[in-house]
Amino acid sequence: MALREITRSVPASGSSDALTEDRARWIAACEAACDKVYRAVVAMGAPAHDAADAVQDAVEQALRLKTPGDRPEGWLFVVALRAWKRQRWRQRLFYPLGALRGATYTEQRDEQIALLVELAKLTDRQRTVLIALYALGLSQKEIARILGVAPGTVGSIASQASKKLRKRLGEET
């Protein structure tokens, strides 16, 4: 991941050029989280190119944050997800123009990976919770904070979705 190039092109919001220790730690954490977040966005149903674009958008925004936190995974995931949904909306809106130019837009999902196929059958909220829990390794509290719901709600969504997914994956194998 070319995070070094991005950090050079995006100026930090602080007044000095020198990276503070906190900012350096935040950048390193973002760098470490990129691949994990990318896989999580793909697991949400995004095509690989769109997921890469969305993660890049999220990283650029993360580097502009004035008060960076400790763990960027949840923040990057939510921002990347929003960026992908915006992009998908635009692609659908301009689809007729693209079709006139001969360009085709298809939402390609990896049908080879059973997990992704089964995840696609869950609701958006269930999929988000499971991916945040298992793909990003976030805690129940962290998921509740990024989704703006109570921790108990996260627990209930996770257990319902796990039950459903477990049954479906069991049927597959």
Partner: protein
């Protein structure tokens, strides 16, 4: 707080996600958005300008060649002039001191919404040329 981790699902995620190819720098640098979005917006803007230009341009040219010397002809009168068939004649009448444009086309009488025209001063009574030929 109870542990909500399910070891079976955790294992399925570990195996499933490991099969997704990693994101690499080439994909990140080669962003497709600028090449897809900008031409679309530019094309849409040009199409709108072209449609407006064709619509109002034709009305403008009709009004300009129909005998008016005033540049500020009200839009309603321009539209009326543009709606007249080729060769139709129109003339100015005096209705209680207010000039009115009337065209008789095959027996059907058409009256222009000429109140605005009179206020703009494009036609003065008595009209210097009571009957002019529309294009």
């Amino acid at each position: 707080m109870t542990d909500i981790h399910d070891p079976v699902i955790e294992d399925a995620f570990r195996r499933g996600l490991s099969r997704i190819p990693a994101m690499h720098s080439v994909q990140v640098r080669a962003r497709r958005r600028p090449t897809t979005r900008r031409p679309l917006l530019l094309g849409a803007a040009l199409a709108i300008v072209a449609v407006l230009g064709l619509t109002f341009g034709s009305i403008e040219s009709t009004a300009a060649t129909s005998g008016f010397s005033c540049a500020d002809i009200p839009t309603k009168v321009r539209v009326w002039l543009a709606s007249l068939p080729v060769g139709a004649e129109w003339h100015v009448t005096d209705v209680d001191g207010v000039p009115e444009l009337v065209s008789q086309n095959g027996g059907a009488t058409s009256v222009a919404p000429a109140g605005a025209l009179a206020r703009s001063g494009c036609v003065q009574m008595p009209a210097s040329s009571p009957s002019l030929r529309a294009p």
